[in-house]
């Protein structure tokens, strides 16, 4: 059999055949490669796309990256239904089956330990966003002025018009208030996120904080403040989801988003 081997995950033998219609990366149905007490879930992929050079080039192409990531996730999702897989990093490619076997042999002990730790667990993702506020008038041009006008009463000479002496001050007060409101909003948002993370951590065996997502990339409205992952036993998932659900109402101006259940991507490391 020619072609390279794309490995999705390593699992304990799960004794269930994968769904017949399941396809993965490159449109190829994944198969199970049993070695010792482990199963690697593997798909054959063409060298012209997955050898180091072409793969590197493809990964710079967001459409290709997105399609490949979804195909990878498709297989992991199917595995999550029947077992608690240990997912591998996207685009882990071997030259042949014997390379996959050697890797499993070498890392058997670590894999088994991690699989035990993740057995019966899933990952939930929770994000908090600050809802975007309405743009509040002009946002530029006044920065050089504000310093000089801090000490009120000495600026008659520079007042634009004696008849509207109060307007500059009013404007600045308004600006100050807006800035203060904005700062208070961030403080509230961070405080909310901190408390939410604390209470969710109580239900989780482990947590990871991911970097906040850039909204220009995610296209999600508002600013991402918290982007966290929680390792939760399947049996506790219902309570976890309900807890997240309840918090959604006590946060005006904030948005809480739940994703999952995921395979335990964020908790697959040995140090986890």
């Amino acid at each position: 059999m020619s072609g390279l081997r794309y490995v999705y995950a390593v699992c304990r033998p799960f004794g269930t055949p994968l769904p017949a219609q399941l396809t993965g990366v490159a449109g190829v149905p994944p198969k199970q490669l049993v070695h010792g007490d482990l199963v690697a879930v593997v798909g054959q992929v063409p060298e012209e796309d997955f050898a180091e050079g072409p793969l590197r080039a493809h990964l710079e192409d967001l459409d290709w990256l997105g399609a490949t990531a979804r195909a990878h996730q498709n297989v992991i999702d199917a595995l999550t239904v029947v077992t608690s897989p240990l997912p591998l990093r996207l685009a882990t490619v071997f030259l042949d089956d014997s390379g996959v076997r050697s890797m499993m042999e070498e890392r058997e002990e670590t894999f088994l330990r991690t699989l035990d730790r993740l057995d019966g667990r899933v990952e939930w993702g929770v994000k908090v966003y600050s809802e975007p506020t309405e743009p509040s008038g002009e946002t530029s041009g006044e920065s050089g002025v504000s310093g000089g006008l801090g000490d009120t009463g000495t600026r008659t000479a520079s007042s634009p018009s004696p008849g509207r002496a109060g307007s500059g001050r009013d404007y600045l007060r308004q600006r100050r208030n807006q800035r203060k409101e904005s700062e208070e909003k961030w403080e509230r948002a961070e405080e909310f996120s901190r408390r939410l993370h604390e209470s969710l951590s109580g239900y989780a065996e482990d947590t990871r904080i991911h970097a906040p997502q850039n909204s220009a990339i995610s296209r999600a409205p508002g600013r991402n403040i918290l982007n966290a992952a929680y390792l939760v036993p399947r049996t506790e998932s219902e309570a976890f989801v309900e807890l997240v659900d309840r918090t959604k109402d006590d946060a005006p101006g904030l948005r809480v988003e739940l994703t999952g259940p995921w395979a335990c991507y964020s908790f697959s490391g040995e140090d986890a």
């Binding site: 050898a51 590197r56 979804r70 882990t92 991690t114 990952e123 600050s130 975007p132 946002t139 994703t259």
Partner: protein
């Protein structure tokens, strides 16, 4: 269980996990594409895909 909105998984959420999570295997047996390189590739792809003319919405608040 409470009904959770299951819209299509957002690509960023997926990449948060597939490019930053999962077991990293490097060595002679694999092609050398895993780990740090992949994250850099991810960022290059994402950044080049974002239209520079689309301002980040929060900038108006700062």
């Amino acid at each position: 269980m409470t009904v959770v909105e299951r819209r299509e998984v957002a690509l960023v959420d997926l990449l948060d996990r597939l490019l930053a999570g999962g077991v990293v295997i490097t060595g002679d047996l694999t092609l050398r594409i895993a780990d740090v390189d992949l994250v850099r590739i991810d960022l290059n792809a994402l950044i080049s895909s974002v239209n520079e003319n689309v301002p980040a919405p929060w900038e108006e608040m700062l």
